[in-house]
């Protein structure tokens, strides 16, 4: 399975964010690593996030829409093989929490993103819904 380069870039961005998080649990990191491997991100590409971080531009999403974009891309990555497993859902929850969404809203947001990703809703439409419910 090969992931399109934009999604791959977003995955690596998320991986870098997780790695940089002092409070990240290694089990969550291992889950993310495994998801990357399964979705076709090579080991070398993941290694470069660590070994050559200066050669890759990482951005940390600041605004709500930027955060939603990252999460939505991850949801699309998760759907890349046509199925969603528990780990993928857990990682998405983890990022939602890290991005500062209220804990009680996290499962709803995750469900919303996964459903829209499955339907193939455009980012613009997702942003529109999010903007209306800030």
């Amino acid at each position: 399975m090969t992931l399109e380069s934009t999604l791959k870039g977003h995955f690596l961005n998320l991986y870098h964010m997780a790695l940089s998080d002092a409070e990240v649990d290694t089990t969550e990191l291992a889950m993310l690593y495994k998801i990357g491997e399964e979705k076709g991100v090579s080991k070398n590409e993941i290694d470069d996030v660590v070994v050559r971080p200066d050669t890759i531009k990482f951005t940390s999403p600041e605004s709500v829409l930027e955060k939603i974009e990252s999460l939505y891309d991850f949801a699309r990555i998760a759907w890349a093989d046509g199925k969603i497993d528990e780990n993928e859902e857990r990682v998405l929850c983890m990022f939602c929490s890290k991005f500062g969404f209220e804990n009680e809203n996290v499962p709803i947001i995750v469900k919303f993103l996964l459903d829209e990703a499955q339907k193939g809703t455009s980012k613009e439409d997702v942003f529109k819904i999010v903007s209306e419910n800030l």
Binding site: S20, A22, L29, I46, V50, V51, D54, V64, I108, N133
Partner: protein
């Protein structure tokens, strides 16, 4: 669940924490003291089930945190980066020196080499157009060829004449109908008759012409010598040849005279030298042999001289061509030197760029390798306790070494501090 659950405010985020108060990746010193890397490895292996992706993630996390830690230590980083900066300066200095050398070669040596080649080519062309400047006169190839052709036919003539005359003098029995001038000197069947008489006889008459040719050659060789004595030697040679020729002529004319005497009804005196000098046949043989021999000697001398002249031109051209070849080789060598130096500059620039990119990132000191392997020790202890196979342990070791290679050993300089 659909969009129905999406309600206003669901995407609101918690207020941002004060970043100043946030503790990022650097572990607290107290935490470091509490737990060793080996213990940490053991604990993490247990937590992640000793899996290979788990190990890889832990290594990455350790590296990332260590990197964050060391990145902020400017004093340490300056110290670690110092050898790289020195090396970059060395490469830059080398490049400056090489560039100066290239400029010197291009503007000086190469220009001189090109001029030298052009000059030599002009000289070569001049020699070809004006060969008389080398030989001293206009005698050229044509003289040599004409002389050579004449010499060839004269040689054939002398060969035929002397072989036939020798046969007549030494072996032929004359009869009355063979006492004419032509018959007495020339015998068209001399060779076949000599062969009939015996191989030795044939050999003798075949080799006798070479005695005369040899005498002619000696005249030429003596002429090459310096001093007055050469004229005495030449005179003696000519006299010897004349005497030899005279003996042959005397022998032939005597045989003819004796035939006449034997068949005469009158008394005739014995044949003497005075009779010979008065005999037309005697002088005919001398002229047909000895004079032609002298002509052969002069032509031979002329041909050899022409050959020496053409050879002199040939040698001069060959020498000039060799000089041009040497100059071209020197020119090529200089160009190769420039290529080689340019290649060195390119290689140095690659190294500079490689070192610069290392300087842009943070440099990991060697001590991290120790921490990583301590972590691996703990990780492998857990694997062993869990009854993992040797293959799994080897694989864990391989993954770690590969990671160390990619992270620490990628730096050209090994940091020992």
């Amino acid at each position: 669940m659909g969009l129905s659950q999406i309600k206003n405010g669901i995407f609101s985020v918690k207020p941002l924490k004060d970043k100043k108060g946030e503790v990022k990746t650097t572990p607290k010193p107290s935490e470091k003291e509490k737990i060793t890397y080996s213990d940490y490895g053991f604990l993490q292996a247990g937590k992640l089930g000793g899996t290979f992706p788990g190990l890889k993630v832990c290594l990455q996390k350790l590296y990332h945190d260590f990197n964050q830690d060391i990145r902020n230590d400017n004093v340490k980083q300056d110290e670690l980066k110092k050898p790289y900066k020195i090396k970059i300066e060395e490469y830059k200095g080398d490049n400056e020196r090489i560039e100066k050398k290239i400029a010197k070669v291009k503007t000086d040596y190469l220009v001189r080499a090109i001029k030298k080649i052009e000059l030599l080519k002009e000289e070569l062309s001049h020699i070809k157009k004006n060969p008389q400047e080398i030989t001293g006169d206009d005698a050229g190839k044509a003289s040599f060829l004409i002389g050579g052709i004449i010499l060839l036919f004269l040689t054939i003539y002398l060969f035929v004449f002397y072989s036939s005359a020798s046969y007549s003098a030494f072996f032929k029995e004359f009869s009355l109908n063979e006492i004419g001038v032509a018959n007495s000197i020339f015998d068209a069947q001399a060779l076949s008759k000599a062969l009939t008489d015996g191989v030795t006889e044939l050999t003798l008459i075949l080799t006798i012409p070479f005695v005369f040719l040899g005498l002619g050659y000696l005249i030429h060789k003596f002429q090459e010598q310096k001093g007055f004595i050469k004229y005495i030697k030449i005179t003696i040679l000519i006299l010897i040849t004349f005497i030899f020729d005279s003996i042959l002529a005397f022998e032939i004319t005597e045989k003819i005279y004796n035939i006449k005497k034997d068949n005469s009804f009158q008394d005739m005196d014995d044949y003497t030298y005075s009779f010979a000098f008065q005999s037309t046949n005697f002088w005919l043989i001398i002229f047909a042999g000895f004079i032609v021999y002298l002509i052969w000697g002069f032509v031979f001398d002329f041909v050899m001289e022409s050959y020496a002249k053409t050879d002199k031109i040939k040698m001069a051209i060959q020498e000039k061509e060799k000089q041009i070849k040497d100059a071209e080789a020197e020119h090529k060598d200089l160009e190769e030197q420039v290529d080689k130096m340019t290649h060195t500059i390119d290689a140095n620039n690659t190294e500079i760029s490689k070192l610069s990119s290392i300087l842009e990132s943070s440099i990991i000191p060697r001590e991290f390798e120790h921490d990583i392997f301590s972590f691996l020790t703990g990780w492998m202890s857990w694997m062993k306790q869990s009854g993992r196979s040797h293959t799994d342990l080897d694989e864990a070791d391989r993954i770690t070494r590969e990671f160390v290679e990619a992270t620490i050993n990628r730096f050209e300089f090994k940091n020992t501090n």
